[in-house]
């Protein structure tokens, strides 16, 4: 390894180690909250931090932008190729990320809650992924980028691009850890079905909202800054394991990496081969 690379590697290790160490504390907090919060039932959930398990149901017409699937939540990610490692691994640089913000219902055997996904850390696998190899991208992606006003789209399309989409389909089981708030007070201004139909705005979804919304026991949304807000298709045990590995990996592995980076830097300084 030439000295400049060695120096950059050492600085990188030191920086990443410190970052992993600090990030380990954040994961430790989330790990503790997951572990220490018992699973509540929707019917009797208390306002404040709650952990729920239920099945998702749509509240509005939400369609995933790339696959056109009907879903309750979607998230897309567009990346450009930033390079290839020596091992042949491709490195992608995310240039655009977007997600739906429509609330959806979470139902368990005792009741139904309304979930606002804004600000949530959603752990759902990417169900659709496509890579283009340059010189243009399929029309649907181009249209999406145009709708989003991504000015660099034509330039990106010259090189390789990756399009990924994750979607939560109705009926899937979901684990939610977030803050429960009381349902907003709302009053119907008209109960007359015939009158409502005459307005032409009373589709089956609107009817469904009118039927289900009164049964909503509470609203789950993001809480104060720094408070965990998670949604996952993985079980609670899986989430506990994931955050435990992240926390202890960061708290132990981070300092080891940082010390190694520092040791390399000190060695480089000792031999006088800094940036030579």
């Amino acid at each position: 390894m030439i000295p400049i690379q060695a120096t950059l590697f050492s600085v990188g290790s030191l920086g990443f180690g410190v970052w992993a160490f600090l990030h380990g504390f954040r994961s430790l907090r989330t790990w503790r909250v997951i572990r220490d919060t018992p699973t509540a039932r929707v019917r009797s959930m208390a306002m404040g931090m709650v952990e729920l398990n239920g099945t998702v149901e749509p509240r509005s017409d939400t369609v995933a932008p790339f696959t056109g699937k009907s879903c309750v939540f979607w998230e897309v990610e567009i990346s450009t190729l930033s390079g290839r490692s020596r091992g042949g691994r491709t490195n992608w640089h995310v240039v655009h990320r977007n997600r739906s913000g429509n609330p959806f219902y979470l139902r368990d055997e005792t009741g139904v809650a309304l979930v606002y996904p804004q600000g949530a850390d959603v752990k759902v696998g990417f169900g659709a992924e496509e890579t283009t190899h340059g010189l243009g991208v399929p029309e649907m992606y181009m249209q999406y980028m145009e709708q989003q006003g991504l000015g660099m789209r034509r330039m990106w399309a010259i090189g390789a691009m990756r399009f990924r989409e994750r979607a939560l389909e109705p009926g899937v089981r979901l684990y939610v850890l977030g803050r429960a708030h009381p349902k907003a007070m709302a009053r119907d201004v008209s109960f007359d079905d015939i009158e409502m139909q005459a307005t032409g705005t009373d589709g089956w979804r609107a009817k469904r909202v009118r039927e289900v919304d009164p049964d909503v026991r509470g609203v789950i949304r993001s809480g104060q800054k720094g408070e965990p807000y998670l949604m996952s298709q993985t079980s609670e045990a899986g989430m506990t394991l994931e955050y435990g590995v992240r926390a202890f990996g960061g708290l132990i592995g981070g300092p080891l990496l940082a010390c190694f980076g520092l040791w390399c830097l000190l060695e480089l300084a000792r031999t006088g081969s800094f940036f030579r």
Binding site: L28, S44, A46
Partner: protein, 192 residues
Amino acid sequence: MHPGEILWTVVIGFVLVGSVGYFLSIYNSLIEMKNNIGRSWANIDVLLKQRHDELPKLVKVCEAYMQHERGVFDKLSEARAALAGAASVRQRADAENAITRALGGFFAVAENYPDLKANNSFTSLQQRISELENAIADRREFYNDTVAMFNTRIEQIPDSWVAGGMNLQPAELFKIDESERKDVDIAFKMTA
């Protein structure tokens, strides 16, 4: 400073910051759990208060029909009065279990009065009390889960070291009445 000394200083720094941060996170999570127990109990208390408030209404609706059932009214009012003197979670739980038992007896006796069963106020009160009892049962389960987690945590190492320093004591569970756990005797009389 010698490079070895720099490295050791950094290692000791990480160990110190890591240990302090780790123990602070234990301290904070124990405080959070302790407050969660208080919150879970308060959430049960709200429902118990609501159920408590429904009792005089129930008595008022039923006394006209059940004039010869002084015993069930007395049991209900005794159980309600016992609640006033309850201070700890255990005493409160005992008093609430007595109310649940008295209510069970009350509704069983009410079955003998068809006119009362046909009364709208009675049926809506019965439904309301039944909904409240279901919600109380759910919240009791949640409260007990929270307490069990807390009690386990304060006995585990290294959390027990921090809990010892904070003088944290195990919290009391909201136990179900023994009579509610007993198997119901069902005897079938076969006639030849």
